[in-house]
């Protein structure tokens, strides 16, 4: 059961990452490679602030804002300095490596006995339900604090995605969505597309940094290399979500990204638990993603065949 809850919590934390990647890759049609840098930036900022005694909730918010700034830089490079999209992301990502090292002062900061958002949640659960309280679900017992952390993070994710969804239905949000779809038209309607790109990519990387900050607090340390491989995770979650949902509506794609993130983590945990050689982890992940994409297609083909024969 701990494994399940652990996988679910990771899935929820990485959903913020998936949402950020959704904003840049889908809404803005912008292949933004800053993700690995901003993820580690979130971790770096939160760790540096927490060990200096900062209150963790404000620190998490600050990590989000730092991510927004990093993304805004990428957008700025693209919009105003006309640097090509891939290159602008790479430039910012590379710079962030050194910046993160400077922020942390060292390559790795442990957060063992410090107060983090996670410990705050655990303490709430302890106070309300007792330290060794265990919940019993269908015959499995789980420590209440782990369950509490999961449920509250899930609630935070829900609220956050709802806020994001509503934002994209406002005037400015709708304009942003149109920029990725048809920038020329949007300019002819008076929207400053350059500014929209800066704000939008900023928002995307804010989400990613938020994910990094939560991850650092959950896993107990921040490492300058913690962003490596995160871009692939995020994109894979998006793709899985797409295969499940398959419609282009904003809200549904977001829900798909979140489900994709959780599902992906679960599948990987299953594979590990079945004694798969961890060296094969990356290959198995690729195969899993492939299966999830291909499966609905095959089902549809079969259905069409049946329809044609009938």
């Amino acid at each position: 059961m701990t494994l399940l809850i652990g996988a679910l919590v990771m899935g929820v934390i990485l959903s913020f990452l998936a949402l950020g990647i959704f904003v840049s890759f889908r809404l803005f049609n912008y292949p933004d490679l800053t993700a690995e840098g901003s993820f580690a930036l979130g971790g770096a900022v939160i760790a540096a602030l927490i060990i200096s005694g900062f209150e963790p909730l404000t620190a998490t918010l600050l990590a989000f804002i730092c991510g927004c700034i990093a993304g805004a830089c990428t957008g700025f490079l693209r919009s105003y300095l006309k640097v090509q999209e891939l290159l602008s992301g790479i430039l910012v990502m590379t710079s962030l490596y050194s910046i993160n090292l400077t922020i942390m002062g060292r390559s790795n900061i442990p957060l063992l006995s410090d107060t983090t958002v996670i410990t705050i949640l655990e303490r709430i659960s302890d106070r309300m339900l007792g330290v060794s309280a265990k919940a019993v679900l269908l015959g499995w017992s789980i420590p209440c604090r782990n369950l509490a952390v999961f449920l509250i993070l899930l609630a935070v994710l829900a609220v956050f995605s709802l806020a994001l969804y509503l934002f994209f239905r406002t005037n400015i949000g709708t304009a942003m969505r149109a920029v990725g779809n048809n920038a020329q038209m949007v300019r002819a309607l008076g929207v400053n597309t350059n500014l929209m790109v800066v704000l939008g990519i900023g928002l995307a990387n804010g989400c990613i940094a938020l994910s990094g900050a939560l991850m650092a607090q959950y896993q107990g340390f921040a490492d300058v290399q913690m962003g490596i491989g995160m871009l692939v995770w995020g994109i894979a979650s998006l793709i899985i979500g797409d295969s499940l949902i398959g419609i282009r509506s904003t809200g549904l794609t977001m829900a798909g990204a979140i489900m994709g993130s959780v599902l992906f983590r679960l599948l990987v945990s299953i594979a590990l638990q079945w004694g798969m050689n961890p060296n094969h982890l990356k290959l198995v992940s690729a195969v899993l993603v492939l299966l999830i994409i291909v499966f609905p297609m095959m089902v549809q083909k079969k259905r069409k065949k049946k329809g044609a024969e009938a």
Binding site: M1, L3, Q219, G220, I245, I247, L252, A255, I270, P278
Partner: protein, 349 residues
């Protein structure tokens, strides 16, 4: 309106599919967990050990072999008195997290770790299982406790901080005219930075200056080594972190091309062409860890076992390499060495 309804139905179906798949995956996880629990009850009373490493490198392998041989020496045999599950995260932090989660599920009798990142992840997540770190440069900085005596109650192990003063004195004996030594270091690995700082202090004490060149990934190794050679160092004494140990062959190649003598802190580098090494014996560290493990299995608490340095440091020399770099090793150094390879085939003490 009919269209609308159809659309909503379609959407609901797809969302349900997603939730269903998640529930399915979750139940598979739970069911295999249940199966394992039942299995555990039926299993014979064999001890279960886990060994988790961060990257695949010679240090980790030596530690692992040391652990197993140490257990064997005490009469514990694999498959009879104990089972051991071995995992390596191949440098992937997410995979490492997954493995640790798995260990929490499995509740082995003892968890052995290799490398500092592994130790750090474990420290956060594991509290009820005894943990023995087989190698770590600075376990106190990693968070294992306040001192070697006063540490976390379920964690203990072997500190494998390199013997920098030993290397400095070896250098002064073999290359008395040397003034500058160099090394690569990895800013992104905390133990590498610790090693570099400690080495600097030891070098200064011995009247030498240390030049350090940063490197971040295996693709940068050749260029970084060339840069180091161009800084007019008399010799390279490469500190032992995860990245440079895995890429040591590249460093040796460049050093030979530039004819800058190479020394190291790992024993295998000598066979590969380094002139000499002042090596913490990682194999011995594994054996020392096994000995700690046995004490715990026999009833001692991990809290009562202090962290210690590895019990053995070896000096290993390669006379062929020395000749290649134009160095003459003084005969009494040769006699004191633990291992000598090369045409003056050695006695292994």
């Amino acid at each position: 309106m009919n269209d609308r309804k159809r659309l909503l139905l379609f959407v609901a179906k797809r969302l349900m599919l997603g939730v269903l798949l998640i529930a399915l995956a979750g139940s598979v996880l739970l069911i295999s967990d249940r199966r394992r629990e039942l299995n555990q009850q039926w299993r014979e009373k064999r001890a279960t050990f886990y060994f988790i490493g961060y990257t695949d490198n010679p240090m980790t392998e030596d530690c692992l072999n040391g652990v197993i041989d140490g257990l064997n020496d005490a009469g514990w045999n694999r498959g009879r008195e104990f089972d051991i599950v071995i995992h390596n995260a191949q440098g992937d932090m997410t995979a490492l997290n997954g493995m640790i989660d798995n260990v929490v599920q499995e509740k082995p009798d003892i968890l052995f770790t290799s490398a500092t990142p592994t130790l750090q992840t474990v420290l956060k997540k594991i509290s009820g299982i005894p943990v023995i770190f087989t190698n770590s440069a600075d376990p106190i900085a990693a968070g294992a406790g306040k001192s070697f005596e006063s540490h976390l109650s379920n964690v203990t192990g072997i500190c494998t901080m390199s013997d920098f003063e030993g290397m400095v004195s070896l250098m002064k004996e073999i290359m008395p005219k040397a003034r500058r030594i160099g090394t690569l270091f990895v800013p992104g690995e905390i133990n590498s930075c610790i090693y570099k700082d400690q080495f600097e202090i030891a070098a200064e004490k011995g009247g030498l200056t240390l030049t350090a060149v940063p490197v971040n990934s295996s693709s940068e190794i050749s260029v970084a080594t060339q840069t180091l050679c161009s800084k007019e160092v008399d010799a390279i004494c490469q500190v032992a972190d995860n990245l440079t140990s895995a890429s040591i062959a590249g460093i040796i190649q460049q050093a030979r091309a530039e004819k800058v003598p190479l020394f190291a802190f790992l024993s295998e580098t000598v066979k590969q062409g380094a002139v000499g090494a002042v090596a913490r014996d990682y194999y011995q560290a594994g054996k020392d860890s096994a000995e700690m493990a046995l004490r715990i299995m026999r009833g001692r608490r991990a809290a009562d076992i202090p962290i210690r340095y590895v019990s053995r440091t070896k000096i290993i020399l390669n006379t062929d390499a020395a000749e290649f770099f134009g160095i003459k090793i003084p005969p009494d150094v040769l006699r004191r060495a633990d291992e000598v390879t090369g045409r003056q085939e050695g006695r292994i003490r």
